[in-house]
Amino acid sequence: AQNSLIIALQHHDIFDLESPNADTEVLPKGIAFSFIKAVHAVNQRLVSHNSSESLGFEVILIANECSEESKVKIVENVKHYGMEICKFYFCKKDEVIKTLQSNNVKLFLSTDSDEIYKALHADVPAAVLYDQTGVLDQLKVTFSGDIIGLPEDSLDSLADLGFSEAQIKTFKSAKICMKEFAGLIGEMRRRFGHENSPLCTCLITVWGSRNICLSALKTLGGWGLDVDEAFCMAGAPCSPILALVKPHILWDGGLHNLRDVPNFEL
């Protein structure tokens, strides 16, 4: 598709290589399965509304440090499961970021928060991937409003909370990188009505007050994304709410991935 939303996934998230059944010919499904299925459904609906639709998701697979045998196994399994994966990149572990950068990836998904942070640091848009197998029949894309809703000078004041300059710089550039992805998702979302959409977008503000959430809503709106659901936690525990929202992906600009940030005053 011309107007592609290229999403990069890694083979160890697509297939469960930790499982005891990983030696068999057919690899067991991994965390990314429900996401790929949901993405496929969105693409189908887009085309059914308009057969000459140019906007759509494109999923690429990145595998690092694979033997020749594994490479074949991966390609065979993708075919076996009928997954629409258009490109495969086999590379070394330290080449992953370069691979992402050189392929116009609009979003890199991972379950590893360190990896996500490293990608964001290198100006690659990245987000957390969740397993929602058998739960939803729509793709749920969630954004955290804490970075999006903070104006420039407030982002700088995060230094008082113990974040380093490098970390703050990462948050700022993560915000800028997200603009394109948000715009494309917004355009995709508009192809469907408010009800019965295969795609649902959500904003969750974890730390910020209502005005930060309001600011995030307006910023996303300005980027072309009118979210469907919004939650403002103002510090209330976020996990019970996330358990109900059931996102496939959650973008938080790296902020909440940094669980071990020092100097929080209790």
Partner: protein, 365 residues
């Protein structure tokens, strides 16, 4: 966890809890950092959480009409066009303002405590409508920092996730679901005329049977008549009634009142509770008072009407909210200017003015 919360949320994952604590600490630090004059919202597990829907907080009658006549898409568009126009106050607005007043007092007396009211906006409106809702909240400077805009999903799961103590809505089905899940809930009605309400004291009135207490006695009245009821109540005077859906909310109010009394401010308490029951003091009142005592609960004023209409008395009390299970009493209260909240619980739902409703209930949207 504070005694105010009845249930404990099951968090089996230690990492998840640690993450939640970090989020909490960060939010706290962030608030203090921004040097905001606004008070920081309390931790939900320590607070009395009140969830209000958008239609109870604000008057959205006109907007509802757009939704019903022109559909969802046009409705969202309409709200976006009017997003900078603040909505007018709704039936729960005075109640919310009164909660804020109590919080101010509690913060003065206990500056470090989190045993406060926490008000959450719980709506299944789409987030785009939320912009207008938040602008309106800003306009009135309400302390509502938390909200759920579920974009069409049922709010019931979110009520539990927020550890809600009381849920107010205009949607019968949602309120019934909440009550079935053990959350105190009621359907708000706007009174036919507005009365001046106290700005320094939160005043909450409760009916007894099927609101604070179970509907066991009401069943006897409906099925066997008043005489049997009086006999039964006298016989069982010393047996506490089972609890009703609003008992826990009264309990939460009581705990906050005790904190005020502990600071020697009983005479100037910013919370006052009322029992307004059709029971008569002589024949069936004792059981009610003894039940409350057995629960360790106090109610400030107990008014036994012996069947007289509640409207005139409520007009004198001027509560910010009055809970009753029977629509007959709700109508009566409404007509005389009281903000009434219908608790759709128990046998009273099958009757109208003492007569059994034969037809199935009309489905409400």
């Amino acid at each position: 966890m504070s005694e105010i919360k009845q249930e404990e949320l099951n968090s089996t994952n230690q990492n998840v809890e640690k993450a939640d604590e970090t989020d909490w600490a960060a939010a706290k630090a962030h608030y203090e950092n921004l040097k905001s004059k606004k008070p920081r919202p309390p931790k939900p597990k320590n607070a009395v959480t009140i969830a209000v829907s958008s239609r109870t907080l604000f008057d959205m009658v006109k907007d509802r009409k757009v939704f019903e006549e022109e559909g969802l898409e046009k409705y969202v568009e309409y709200q976006q066009e009017h997003e900078n126009e603040p909505l007018k106050p709704g039936s729960a607005f005075p109640f919310v303002k009164a909660l804020m007043t109590v919080n101010e007092r509690l913060r003065t007396l206990y500056p470090d405590s989190e045993e406060l009211f926490d008000i959450v906006l719980m709506t299944n409106n789409h987030a785009q409508v939320g912009v207008r809702l938040m602008n309106s909240i800003n306009h009135y400077d309400l302390t509502i920092e938390r909200f759920c805009m579920t974009g069409g999903q049922s709010p019931i799961g979110y009520l539990k996730a927020y550890m809600t103590n009381l849920y107010l809505s205009k949607d019968t089905k949602k309120v019934q679901e909440a009550i079935e899940e053990g959350i105190a809930a009621a359907i708000m009605y706007k009174p036919d005329m507005m009365m001046e309400l106290s700005e320094t004291q939160l005043r909450v009135a409760f009916d007894g049977d099927a609101v604070l207490f179970s509907d066991e006695s009401e069943i006897i009245v409906k099925q066997h008549g008043l005489d049997t009821f009086f006999e039964h109540e006298k016989q069982h005077e010393n047996k506490p009634l089972a609890q009703g859906p609003l008992k826990c909310f009264l309990e939460a109010l009581g705990k906050l009142q005790k904190k005020i009394y502990a600071k020697n401010e009983r005479l100037d308490c910013p919370i006052r509770t009322f029992l307004v029951t059709a029971r008569s003091a002589a024949s069936s009142g004792a059981r009610v008072l003894k039940t409350l005592r057995s629960w360790g609960l106090e109610i400030d004023e107990a008014l036994f009407l012996a069947g007289a209409p509640k409207g005139p008395l409520l007009q004198k009390i001027r509560p910010h909210i009055f809970f009753d299970d029977q629509m007959f009493h709700i109508e009566g209260a409404k007509e005389m200017g009281t903000i009434a909240a219908h608790v759709p619980y128990g046998i009273g739902q099958k009757y109208n003015k003492g007569k059994l409703i034969e037809q199935p209930e009309k489905l409400q949207k």
